[in-house]
Amino acid sequence: MAAPPLAIVVWLFFVPFLSSAHLSFLRDGQWSLQNYALVWRLYRIDVLYTLGISLVSLALVIGIAALVCGYLRIVGHRPVEFLFKVPLFVPFVVVGHGMRVLLAPRGTLNSALAQVGVVDLSDPPSIAFTWIGIVISLVWKNLALAVLLVLGAYRAVDEALLEAARNMGASTFRQIRDILLPMSAPSLVVASAFMFTSMLASFSIPLMIGGGEPPHMLMVDVYYRINYQDDLGTANALGMVSYLFAMGAAGYYLRTITVSRSS
């Protein structure tokens, strides 16, 4: 009974996942470390680039969510709460294209700003096709999920605890910083680990908004390596690197869960 669905996942995910390990050590049919050497030579900047973008995006998402949700929890603002749910239902590919037309050198944003005289359309600044465009897109899309999760965690905090702080003189910001955040820390870590992995592994967004010049995000590199160089070995070596980071994040998440369970 369990066999068919499990079989699909095992055959088309688990097996290919394992074969990444195998293939990354193969070059021209021979066992070799060449692929990893190539990764180091050609792609180490990209690795840092990907990590950097993911960390910056994560910091922004968590930072904004922590504050916005604090306001939504303590003061409340139903329309804004609803607005933040919208990006949940916009697929990653649509986000990619939408940001393209918005942030392009002569996109709608710059056109609008040109009306106000902030931007000169003959030499417009280019946000799209740079890391900034990618960060904006990742933040835009992930903020919805972050707000959902953080607000849920905040709502689990007893109102009396916030009232006691207010009674002592705590402003909204202090209530967020001293009460809501510390008490929601485990949930935030879980959300962060998950979002970090997803940002690291993002493909459609950097593909559409990343621009043609290196550096690229890792998934784009894997795609190009397969599509244009037909180099399965190096592509899988890159894949292995990305798996390692994903496992690192997962390990951190598991450690937090077990620590908070035992305390």
Binding site: I8, V9, P16, F89, P91, G96, A114, L149, V222, M240
Partner: protein, 275 residues
């Protein structure tokens, strides 16, 4: 002694800031989406014009005669097949996991989560090779299979939780009165699990409709879905066409947002962030 004018001015400032904040959020949320809307109804727009020079439904007509319709049909068909297959396969499994002490239950549930815990692209690259060997690459069935890899978790986890929440005593009452297990499942468990079934159907359907990575790798070059079509036209600078495709792609999702907001619980909501 304090006056009462202070608080009133304070309230005014706070209300204004609140409204300004809401407007800012609305702007940020809708900026990319409204750009899509503008481009969908543009006939011609080149710089240095700040606004489209010509608006119109020109591209809508053009698009409906072209590949977009094919992509739409194809994607829709795949989504329907994926949803049906997923539900048929996972509902019995979910019932088993919910009701019986299956060995390695936690491991089984986690296996379904794997495709969302690790980067999909490199794995799907290798999966494409595997599918190629059995002649399923670049075929509809191959795409259906690759969609199911990621979609199964939504159905399995949701339906297991739903079945677990139905009190066993309700089924025991039916057995007690003489109903067979199958009949009980059909007439007691399944109807009670309907909200979960609806949620799973919607989650899986939307996942398949929006899936990009697997479709790009496995489906190329013959199988076209809307996300892939949108991607190709976007990087090909057919901005109007891509925007129209994007708008169409967003509609099921936004309709779902409204449905969920009104009818279903927000725990299902958090699964959406992973689409």
């Amino acid at each position: 002694m304090t006056t009462s004018v202070g608080p009133r001015a304070d309230v005014f400032v706070r209300t204004t800031l609140r409204m300004a904040g809401a407007v800012l959020v609305a702007f940020v949320i809708f900026a990319p989406l409204s750009s899509l809307v503008i481009w969908s109804f543009t006939r011609r727009w080149s710089w240095p014009h700040p606004f489209p020079q010509e608006l119109g439904l020109f591209y809508w007509r053009k698009v409906l005669e072209g590949d977009l319709l094919r992509a739409l049909e194809s994607g829709f068909l795949i989504a329907v097949i994926v949803t049906a297959a997923t539900l048929v396969l996972t509902v019995p499994l979910a019932y088993l996991l919910a009701r019986y002490p299956v060995p390695g239950k936690a491991v089984i549930l986690l296996v379904f989560l794997l495709p969302h815990a690790f980067p999909q692209l490199p794995v799907f690259v290798n999966a494409t090779t595997l599918l190629y060997r059995v002649n399923l690459a670049a075929s509809l069935s191959g795409v259906v299979l690759i969609h199911m890899v990621g979609a199964l978790v939504y159905a399995v986890w949701t339906m297991t939780a739903v079945f677990r929440s139905i009190p066993e005593s309700l089924e025991e009452a039916a057995w007690n009165l003489g109903a067979s297990r199958l009949k009980t499942f059909r007439t007691v468990a399944l109807p009670l699990a309907t909200p979960g079934l609806i949620a799973s159907t919607l989650l899986v359907f939307l996942y398949s409709l929006d899936e990009f990575t697997g479709t790009l790798l496995v489906g190329s070059p013959f199988v076209l879905t809307l996300p892939v079509y949108m991607y190709r036209t976007s990087v090909g600078y057919e901005l109007q066409v891509a925007s129209i495709a994007a708008l169409i792609l967003m509609l099921p999702g936004l309709a779902l947002l409204v449905v969920l907001e009104r009818y279903l619980k927000s725990e299902y909501l958090s699964m959406f962030g992973r689409l």
